[in-house]
Amino acid sequence: MRAAETPRFRIERGTRASRSGALVALLGLIALAAGPWWLGTGNMRMVTEIAYYLALAQMWNLLAGYGGLVSVGQQAFVGIGGYALFVLVILLGVPALAALPIAALLTAIVALPTAFVVFRLRGAYFAIGTWVVAEVYRLVFAQVSALGGGSGQSLPVDAIKAIAETKAGREMAIYWIGLAIGIGAVALVYLLLRARQGLALTAIRDSETAAESLGVHNLRAKVSVYLVAATGTGLIGALIFLQKLRISPDAAFSVTDWTANVIFIVVIGGIGTIEGPILGVIVFFVLRELLAGFGSWYLIALGAVAVAVMLRSPRGLWGLIGERFGLDFFPVRRRLKLLARAPDKLP
């Protein structure tokens, strides 16, 4: 192709769905941000919970769906983030809100040696290895009597009062932080996947050997994605236990709450897509509200739905919808668009 010729194609990323979707999402976010003025206390708690489950799901999806690292041990980082917050606030007197980012940082510091151990295992063994490590952290925290041992402890009243004087003020603060973390997690995954690192991750997901031969440092990319997910999960954990105001080893390192539910959300919604966890979290909360009166039948139903989805439609509900209607709200792929005047012959 000579230099003077105009290119006959264009690389595009935005889609019609992504542009109109962005507008609708923006309006929805403005409405949610104004939540304290039109949602009741109960609904605000619910939105916060939805937001942190969305964030947890995005972090797990980044790890498993894009990084190919299926972990059953992310509750380790929820627990460490939560405990880091309590240590900072109770033992070191750090203000609770300032302790949130520090707790995330501390989680990252713990995640580094953890990665060193669990990366010795591959595939399915990595999954169970991460679970063992989470158990180790749970048992260790249960031994520390300064943190309440096995029965746990609560945040002291003056530390809670320091967040905001009134109950409404505290609820508002936690609501906005929760919302910010939920949206931040979606944005982080989206931006990361559009950047160079995302291209490397997608390449690894599709073929490890091919990616390595094209100069992608697989191990480094995987360790980085593990650390990013751990840090994000730690921040979410700190927020969760700031909202709950009480922590115990069993609640902090609960595999059902912080990993089983999250895996079901991602699998049902659609693993390896950004839309999937969003759809999954909606399905999860709808099912939970509908089946609230049925005790453990709710988890049985959730498990059965996840198994059925995995067998029938491994790309999840979003895989079905997105493919059927050609929708792509978070375009991370590049599309080659040929312009109207097609070339006579390909160069």
């Binding site: 299926v70 063994y125 169970i128 290895g129 063992v132 158990e135 895996i263 005790g295 988890l299 049985i300």
Partner: protein, 288 residues
């Protein structure tokens, strides 16, 4: 002498862990499947035993005659109806399907049997012991469990290396495409492997119920012990799995002796230590 006693108790406990781990090791060896529901299936077998004992008044050991074939049939059905659909290059489907199955079994048991802690009673045998020295005695029951673990492994070794079925297992493990060209139906072979694995799981479950208390929530911890024994011993080696169980049992016994709160932690730390020093386990055989 006190320490010798601790180590002996640990070794015998290791026999139970080896029984937990043998099924996991077997199905990994034949079809590279890691079944997250493994621990919950052990607990399911214990509850089936409980149903036999309380329902028709069988002795727990006699209930094996019913529970073992029942679990084996369940294994064949699960493999043909569920796990065979997930096999392939991608590790995600088998992991997530077995994870979903684990949650389903746990909560079904919770609905049917409640969260109460249960135990299978075997009368005088529970407290019987053999006096070795003045202050050193071996419990008869732990000894039976340990010998049974050895018996199961010997039997599996014979099946694996002396029978036609074992040849099919080994061939499928080596190359599942070629074996089909040789006229082996690998879906059926996988079904049989899972049936044998769950038959062993049934034995493990009954012994679990006889030795300790159990409730629907303890499955995942059993999975972790089984997994640790397999990794400590080295993938694909059944005798290695027994050694792994013993290492885990001894580590837990020593931990418990130092401080009751350290029992589980010591076992997990022993596993992590082996992983750091010898990532492929003590007696590696298979190449992952």
């Amino acid at each position: 002498m006190e320490w010798l006693d601790t180590i002996i108790q640990g070794v015998l406990l290791g026999g139970l862990y080896a029984l937990f781990a043998t099924g996991l090791s077997l199905i990994f060896g034949v079809m590279r499947l890691v079944n997250i529901a493994h621990g919950d299936l052990i607990v399911l077998a214990a509850f089936l035993g409980l149903a036999m004992v309380e329902g028709i008044g069988l002795d727990p050991f006699v209930s094996l005659v019913i529970v073992v074939p029942l679990m084996a049939a369940l294994g064949y059905g699960l493999q043909r109806g569920l796990f065979n659909l997930t096999l392939g290059r991608d590790i995600l489907p088998p992991l997530l399907v077995s994870f979903g199955l684990s949650i389903i079994i746990q909560n079904l048991l919770l609905e049917i049997f409640s969260a109460d802690s249960r135990k299978l009673q075997v009368g005088a045998l529970e407290t019987a012991s053999i006096q070795l020295a003045d202050n050193l005695a071996i419990g008869v029951l732990p000894l039976i469990v340990f010998l049974c673990a050895i018996g199961v492994i010997v039997a599996l070794q014979i099946v694996f290396y002396r029978t036609e079925l074992g040849r099919a297992f080994r061939a499928t493990s080596d190359d599942q495409e070629t074996v089909q060209l040789m006229g082996v139906d690998n879906r059926h072979i996988y079904g049989l492997a899972m049936a044998i694995a769950l038959g062993v799981v049934a034995i493990a479950g009954i012994f679990l119920g006889v030795r300790t208390n159990f409730d629907p929530s303890i499955g995942p911890a059993r999975l972790l012990y089984a997994f640790e024994a397999v990794i400590i011993g080295g993938l694909g080696s059944l005798w290695g799995t027994l050694a792994g169980g013993v290492v885990l049992g001894v580590a837990q016994a020593i931990g418990a002796k130092l401080d009751p709160g350290w029992q589980l932690l010591a076992g997990h730390l022993a596993f992590l230590l082996v992983l750091l020093i010898r990532p492929r386990g003590l007696f590696p055989r298979a190449i992952d």
